[in-house]
């Protein structure tokens, strides 16, 4: 049965190859009419994102060689990243022209994997998988999932499970004072004669803990006895309180993919001379407006936090201060250039179990406050479930950090290249203040902390923008008259 099926499949496949040949011949004779675009040129096919914010993976094996003819969905190669081995298939029919990596090399997400001479019609979304003009920039240059610095880090922390027991006894439910295992052991550390091993079992000691002083680091009986007497001197505190001073061991850990990305990005940000401008906005009116809107709309989906309002206010202000939405191009250090970006793509910080990710809301200038709120919700959800695509993490022109969801008053946020500004929003708090009649009133205050690149933005410009945002937040009605 299975063989009949495979025979049938083979027959169909060979027939489609013949069809391709005839199609090629035809196209050379006269121009065919195509509804979708036809590409008869060699293009690089990029390695797509395989999830988890992973930006590099190891190439395990190729299934094709240059010159090989592939059909749509044929396997091209297998790659490996920490726990996942992934098969990459070709989205097009065509001929492989060039392989960009050797087996065991680290392949980079978003960079070319193979050159393919495409001989089929391709859809819009397939075009996106190919490189544009020059080589594509790493997919998340504006976001947090970055290229890890050096494959050593990637491989070291990429490892998964192993059954290596770390000096724990078999019964997992008897609470033990954690036996501190020496971090670097010699290979010969577990060498011991059977007699010594018997002794360790008798005395309920793990031989891995005992430092051997015998030949080749062997554990001798005296070592075991000495270990036991040392152990009994240690205080037995089941509660991890600070009363009994325990020797705390250092723990080395390589950086996670998200941390590596952050490391690389923030190291580049060291070049930016930041200045900080903070201002406190009175959000009492905003809070009242939110309460009114939430009261009117019973569904929880419609509940608005202050963040979408602030985002819209910043976007409106940036229309008068486009410098803060610009991008600084320092490719040529002698001739730096500012690119005033047309779209307002705001990155916002999302705290996920894996660390900080910065998804991007695109074209905020065209979105209503409700639409912004929906985007925030969707992107945060995706970030939490690690479903962010590289597209969601790049092309930000401005960043908003809502650290106030955790806490904070004044913060000094760090700008991500090539943006020139960032605003951090603290936690709103209720404070006493004086109104125009010099009477004590209750005010709800929110601090906005602006950081800008002092190479291109001066304090006054930033301050003016900040004050404009503040006045819009303090009087939401003024936002309405400026909205498109």
């Amino acid at each position: 049965m299975a063989t009949a099926l495979s025979a049938l499949r083979y027959a169909i496949r060979s027939r489609t190859i013949n069809l391709h040949y005839t199609a090629l011949l035809k196209s050379s004779q006269y121009r065919a009419f195509h509804v979708s675009r036809r590409v008869d040129v060699v293009k690089p096919f990029l390695l797509a994102d395989i999830g988890e914010g992973i930006t590099e993976c190891q190439l395990i094996q190729w299934f094709v060689q240059p010159g090989a003819r592939v059909e749509q969905f044929d396997k091209l190669c297998e790659v490996q990243s920490d726990k996942a081995s992934v098969e990459i298939t070709s989205p097009f029919d065509g001929v492989i022209k060039k392989l960009y990596y050797d087996p065991d090399d680290m392949a980079i997400t978003g960079k070319p994997l193979v050159d393919i001479d495409i001989q089929s019609e391709i859809s819009e979304e397939d075009e996106a998988k190919l490189a544009g003009g020059e080589g594509e920039a790493s997919p998340a240059d504006e976001g947090e999932a970055k290229m890890s610095s050096g494959q050593q880090e990637m491989e070291a922390q990429g490892g998964a499970e192993a059954g290596m027991a770390e000096a724990k006894e078999v019964k997992s439910d008897t609470p033990r004072l954690a036996a501190r295992r020496p971090t670097s052991k010699s290979d010969h550390g577990t060498l011991a004669t059977p007699a010594v091993r018997h002794l360790t079992k008798e005395l309920d000691v793990n031989i891995g803990d005992v430092e051997g002083t015998g030949r080749d680091g062997r554990v001798l009986k005296e070592d075991v006895h000495r270990h036991v007497s040392l152990k009994s001197q240690k205080p037995e505190t089941p509660e991890p309180s600070a009363k009994a001073p325990k020797t705390r061991e250092d723990k080395r850990a390589p950086l996670t993919p998200v941390q590596s990305g952050m490391f690389k990005l923030m190291t580049r940000s060291l070049n930016i001379p930041h200045f900080l401008y903070t201002c406190a906005a009175d959000v009492s009116a905003l809070t009242a407006l939110r309460k009114k809107l939430s009261g009117a709309n019973k569904s929880t989906e419609q509940k608005l936090t202050h963040l979408p309002f602030i985002i819209k206010a910043v976007s409106l202000a940036l229309q008068q201060h486009p410098l803060l939405n610009a991008s600084l191009d320092t490719k040529d250090p002698k001739k730096p250039e500012l690119v005033y970006k047309g779209a307002h793509n705001f990155g916002f910080g999302a705290d996920t179990p894996h660390g900080l990710m910065v998804p991007v809301i695109r074209n905020v200038q065209d979105l209503s406050i409700v639409e912004i709120a929906v985007q925030l919700r969707e992107l945060s959800e995706k970030a939490r479930n690690n479903k962010l695509a590289p597209f969601d993490l790049r092309d930000a022109t401005f960043t908003i950090s809502n650290i106030g969801s955790v806490g904070g008053g004044v913060v000094a946020p760090v700008i991500s290249e090539p943006q020139v500004a960032i605003v951090g929003i603290g936690r709103s708090k209720v404070v006493p203040a004086f109104d125009e009649n010099e009477e004590l009133v209750r005010k709800e205050e929110l601090t906005l902390s602006w950081s800008a690149d002092h190479r291109v933005v001066d304090g006054a410009e930033c301050a003016r923008c900040a004050e404009r945002v503040r006045s819009m937040i303090e009087d939401p009605a003024s936002m309405m008259v400026n909205m498109r």
């Binding site: 049965m1 724990k168 078999v170």
Partner: protein, 414 residues
Amino acid sequence: MIVWNSACRSARLSTRPLTVRRCLSQRTLDRLTDPVQSYISTSRDPYLNLSIEHFLLQQSAPESVVLLLYVNRPSIIIGRNQNPWLEVNLALLDPSSHDQSYSEPPGLGAVDLVRRRSGGGTVFHDEGNVNWTVICPSKDFTRDQHAEMVVRALRDCGIDRARVNVRHDIVLDQGQHSLTIGSDDTHSTPYQTPEADARKPLKVSGSAYKLTRQRALHHGTCLLSSPNLNIIPHYLHSPAKPYMTARGVESVSSPVGNILLSNERFIASVQKQFGKLYRSIGDAQEVGDEWQEHDSVRKGCDELKSPEWTYLQTPQFSISNQSDTLTDVDLELSVRNGVISSGFCGTRKSGYSGAARTGLPAGLDGRRLHDISSWDDELGGSLPSVSHDRVTRLCKWLHMMLPPPIGRPNTHFR
């Protein structure tokens, strides 16, 4: 009548026979198209179980969801892209091969070494460990969902310390019960302690994945009642590790523990949670040795058993004894795809190497590392400038670091 029979027989022989001997039953093949499938293996053979798993990955209908549960006899399973010389103490795998005066034989008998097709690190399987596999469509796949399913299965059996950690492993928290945190969240328990290193949680299950265009496979172990927890570190600690630099995925070691639950209870609970998750009440189908009869399963088995798959899939690495102060002849070998590709050999001069280096001894270049059964034979004659004693010591070192794999004849050093 006789003529009729022989005509029939020759007709049957001339085409590929379609009897049960070569193919699984039609009912089994039909089941591959069911939207929800549940299987349980009766075999303890790791090669067969992994091949059945791979067969299910490739042949089950693209929109279907499959559960497979299996238990292996004692074996070490390394990840798709791992290095057996780095991860495993190969000398221990064949108890008849190692020298008893150096280490106590753990008494487990022969232990298989298997390279699986999914990524990730090295694990030790035995009868106290149950393996679970879920295969689902790629578009619905997230790394946590099935680990969460297994945690719910464990909590159903009363194991409320179980949770999924950030690495998608299942751990048991070791802290005191804290009444303030109580949750139905599979990612936290009331036993979590906020401090970083007071009572690390014990890992009881590790995961690995294989992703193809349409299907995603997630499989994991589950340490229920392994009698071998003390011995596992010996198998998974390779003496060669400090001397190697390697590409590929390294294992991340964690403290492990047994859940202390019977295999049967765990299996029943996982099947129930699977049924709940995918809204299906079907029974689990048994799979076992009869699947060896199927061509592609058998081919898969043969591939997994072959030394080419086990050893030649190793990413590039090199081993050098320069950091070992006890040896006095420098040796460095680079191994690519399991084959010795380059290296050098030379005597050390007052702690600083480089003075008397020669290239690789002739017999070694291009040799498959797992084919070498005696280092003495390989190096014995090829270092004439070096004294016999030193060569012997070097060979002894090599024998310890790169022991011949199981089943190969080898010579011992006394």
